[in-house]
Symmetry: C2
DNA sequence: AAATAATATTGATCTACATCAATAATTTTT
DNA sequence: AAAAATTATTGATGTAGATCAATATTATTT
């Protein structure tokens, strides 16, 4: 089995218990896609046909507001999933860009195939349920952080939780993820050094 | 069948296709709970044992930050589900209060029962998957709104989308949901009148 | 190794929103 | 119908973080 498939298998079987043959069946619904740095896999106004699992590399989802500012919605490195979630599940035109931040290898499943897959075996349905539940929980934590923490605290949390991301994404993308300008993040970092 | 069960049935069967007998089975895992205004069904430090569906009434989930300020995480009126999501799915101590904002009737399922239920019939699993997916999508929209919209715009969106909520929850709770102080929301409302 | 493009820093200034304190209005309880 | 409790408004003032513009640094391409 290919190296990236081993990691994918680990990822899946950590969440649901599968026979080897079941995993093979699961895997068969996915196709490999290679993207190069700065390449987009999703763009506004196009319905995103796939959900992507990052085998190697780094991806980022962001939106552009009316003033032309980027706001990072999600980062994804190895073993993370990424897509324009709203657009994907409702099969509506995307509002996000999903871009390769590094050359990346993805495992992709189409929306149609995903429906088939879930119908095939209740365990597969369970897998997607668990993923969705955890995503909700994660998003809710993000809402809570935004409501209750200062910019500095949000940055510290980011460093604590996503230390692996910090060095792989430009600083301005992290600023846009925690909800500050790149200038302000720069100043916060300077202040920390002075202390 | 009781009136509230009819609404519950509609809610479920809108998402998955069930025989009457299957719905009866589903319903059997739930118990009815009546709560009076200002009563808490979840408090910080206690593991929330249940997920609740509001048959009648109005509930609100909020957290208290270090300065003692309330931040509303979720509103729920008829046909909405509510719980401390993170705490419930991971069965950890809650960080939220979930409080009755009006006298309410709830249909509750315990975490244990929910596990049983999902194992019983793949359709039930599908139901929870769909719910979780939509919750993720909803939460993500909220993250995006917070990143891209001004306080006024967030308030307008709230009015547009949750007009039914507006008159059933105190204004300060709406302020805390969109992420402003009650004073500032009051001022925004005044400015709108002047225009 | 230059040239170019992308990213990060710094300074000056501005503003959206918070804080604090008082009062007014509304709802609930007795 | 008062009294008490809860919620909403208003004014004065403060500040976290934004904006704009310039420059410095780092990474990428030729």
């Amino acid at each position: 089995m290919l190296e990236e498939h081993t990691l994918f298998k680990k990822h899946i079987t950590k969440r649901i218990d599968l026979e080897d043959s079941e995993f093979e069946q699961f895997l068969n619904f996915f196709s490999t896609k290679i993207v190069t740095k700065r390449q987009f896999i999703t763009q506004p106004d196009f319905v995103p046909s796939h959900r992507s699992f990052v085998c190697t590399g780094a991806m980022r989802a962001y939106i552009l507001d009316d003033s032309g500012n980027e706001h990072t919605i999600q980062f994804a490195i190895e073993n993370w999933w990424i897509t324009d979630y709203n657009a994907y599940i409702y099969q509506r035109p995307a509002t996000m860009f999903v871009m390769a931040q590094e050359n990346s290898t993805l495992l992709q499943i189409s929306h149609e195939k995903e429906l088939e897959l879930k119908a095939l075996n209740p365990k597969f349905e369970t897998f997607f349920r668990i993923m969705a539940e955890r995503s909700t929980a994660y998003m809710q934590r993000r809402v809570i952080e935004r409501l209750t923490l200062s910019a500095e605290e949000r940055y510290q949390h980011f460093l604590d939780k996503y230390s692996l991301m910090v060095n792989r994404f430009p600083q301005y993308t992290i600023a846009s993820y925690i909800g500050v300008t790149t200038e302000f993040l720069s100043r916060m970092r300077k202040n920390r050094l002075l202390k």
